[in-house]
């Protein structure tokens, strides 16, 4: 549905994105993850035909965003960053305007607008001026506007920024419901959001692609660098020395004390294998007491940070 190949954009001489390549299948929800200034908005602006790329190609539903911009624009719904909408229009007047320029037949307009308002939960505020709505409601109007013509592709730039937790929850459910029939690309810096709503994640940093994968695969891929948390009763210095000698351990850190003689330790291992047995053996050999040992699952947050920092090394 969406094919992006070696997409590069320079602002003057400064690259905003370089050689970004990814695809999104029909019906997929693709998360675009990256810290501030990573190039998420830039990529989305190219995909939505707002500006052309310096190099590379992007196709939506088989149409090139530059050569066949009109065909692409017909097929997408786009919510730009910060939801720019006409503040002096009422919600219904605005959606009516959008429906008109989206080429929706006069007879269908009312039902389609009604459906979009329903989906986004803004039917109750349809008569209000957009400028007087709360941020969350404005955000919903932005999505309703992107939905009104029932597009094949939805491009949403930070759809949950600035919402309260309950609204974020609602927005995620909304996006999940919208997926399935439609291809959705959404950007965010909020990591749990990606694992909750997206089937696949594109991680970019400083304009470069770092990873494209499912959230599960990303976690699995990085699981090999597992952290293990162990609570051991015994002399800390000896324990640290002993455990460092276990094969596979790269780092060990003493954390908080449970009691005088009991501490928790955070153990990093590189090898793609479970080293808990070896650790247990090493502890019991010395007559210390292992009260707890478990693997810490890396959250997407850790993975993200790890990926972003690994790239720098």
């Amino acid at each position: 549905m969406i094919e992006v190949e070696n997409l590069t954009k320079y602002y003057g001489n400064i690259p905003a994105i370089e050689d970004i390549t990814f695809t999104a299948e029909k019906g997929e929800i693709l998360g675009f993850l990256g810290p501030n200034g990573a190039g998420k908005t830039t990529t989305m602006r190219i995909l939505s035909c707002f500006m052309p790329a310096t190099r590379g190609t992007a196709r939506v539903a088989g149409y090139d965003v530059f050569k066949n911009s009109m065909e692409v624009r017909k097929r997408i719904g786009y919510q730009p960053e910060n939801v720019p909408i006409y503040r002096d229009m009422s919600v219904s007047a605005y959606l009516n305007f959008v429906a008109q320029v989206r080429g929706i037949d006069r007879r269908e307009r009312k039902t389609k607008i009604g459906k979009a308002m329903d989906e986004c939960g803004i039917t109750g505020v349809s008569g209000k001026l957009i400028g007087k709505l709360s941020k969350g409601y404005r955000q919903r109007v932005g999505i309703a506007q992107a939905l009104v013509h029932d597009p094949e592709v939805l491009i949403l730039d930070e759809p949950t920024i600035g919402l309260d937790p309950r609204q974020i929850h609602g927005m995620r459910d909304l996006i999940k419901n919208l997926g399935g029939q439609r291809t959705i690309i959404l950007s965010t810096h909020i990591l749990p959001e990606v694992s909750m709503t997206c089937q696949r994640v594109v991680i970019i940093n400083e304009g470069r692609l770092i990873a494209v994968d499912t959230p599960d695969n990303l976690m699995a891929r990085l699981q090999k660098g597992t952290k293990i948390l162990a609570e051991i009763e015994g002399p800390p210095d000896d324990i640290m020395k002993e455990l460092k000698g276990v094969s596979g351990v790269t780092n060990i850190e003493k954390k908080d004390a449970k009691s005088d003689n009991t501490f928790t330790y955070l153990i990093d291992s590189t090898i793609d294998r479970d080293i808990r047995k070896e650790l247990f053996a090493a502890v019991s050999k010395n007559g210390w007491l292992l009260t707890e040992i478990r693997q810490i699952d890396m959250s997407l947050e850790d993975i993200f940070l790890k990926l972003v920092t690994e790239e720098k090394d």
Partner: protein
């Protein structure tokens, strides 16, 4: 056509939802009303004097003394007022970021530009309507010729359309409405006074300068003469700047 109409409607809506259009129209009506009043009052005084002076009677003509000068002063008012009508057309969208939505809708740039031009032009016509009442008063109280009144309106409408096309171009270049208004006013003024240079340049260049002057072409209309030359000038002027507006929007896309 649907798109053009949608943009037109939206733009007209925002003109009349903000106080700017009302203020511009109010100021225009008051000042143009004052001009009409003073020209007419002056004419009245002169008529009274001419009754005692038979030599003057034949020379006194309401069309020449009131209608002509009224259209001349109206053109100056239009010069001052149109920048305030055009300044927001693209600047506001750029500032609020709505341009990003507008440019990603499946509508052609030309439809956007013509929709905005149309809305501004209609607002301009609304601004002119109070002067129709002043003209009507002249017709009630005196006997002006109808021809010069009609040609005068054709002239002022062409003048306004040209001014608007230049104003739209400038509003695509900045997101600051004040800057858009000031630069538009400056550019219009330059086209207004450009023939001043004709007095000290070579004869060929002088001709060019006079041809370029936006107000030289207007004089004939105010005198009751419709010259196709002048009509073509305003047509080309408007076309040229609307064309540049299109190029400006395109280049914005290129620069990002």
């Amino acid at each position: 056509m649907v798109n053009f109409y949608a943009i037109l409607k939206k733009e007209l809506g925002s003109y009349f939802k903000s106080p700017i259009a009302y203020m511009v129209i109010a100021v225009f009506s008051v000042i143009s009303g004052y001009f009409f009043y003073s020209l007419f009052a002056l004419f009245g005084v002169m008529s009274v004097q001419s009754m005692n002076n038979p030599n003057m009677q034949s020379a006194l003509n309401i069309t020449e003394e009131v209608v002509g000068p009224a259209f001349s002063t109206m053109s100056i008012l239009v010069l001052f007022m149109t920048p305030f009508l055009t300044m927001r057309l693209f600047s506001e969208e750029k500032k609020s970021g709505t341009i990003e939505m507008l440019m990603t809708f499946p509508i052609k740039d030309i439809e956007i530009i013509m929709g905005k031009f149309g809305a501004c032009f209609l607002t301009f016509l609304v601004m002119l309507t109070p002067t129709l009442f002043y003209q009507a008063i002249l017709f009630i109280l005196g006997k002006p010729e109808l021809g010069p009144v009609i040609s005068g309106y054709i002239g002022i409408i062409l003048l306004g359309a040209s001014f608007i096309s230049l104003g739209i171009l400038i509003s695509t270049m900045t997101e600051n409405q004040i800057i858009a208004a000031v630069v538009t006013f400056g550019a219009l003024l330059l086209f207004w006074i450009i023939q001043w240079g004709a007095s000290f340049t070579g004869p060929v260049f002088a001709k060019v300068l006079i041809q370029l002057s936006i107000i030289e072409h207007y004089q004939e209309f105010a005198r009751g003469v419709i010259d196709t030359n002048d009509v073509i000038f305003y047509g080309l002027f408007a076309f040229f700047f609307l064309f540049l507006t299109m190029r400006s929007l395109e280049s914005k896309k290129w620069r990002g």
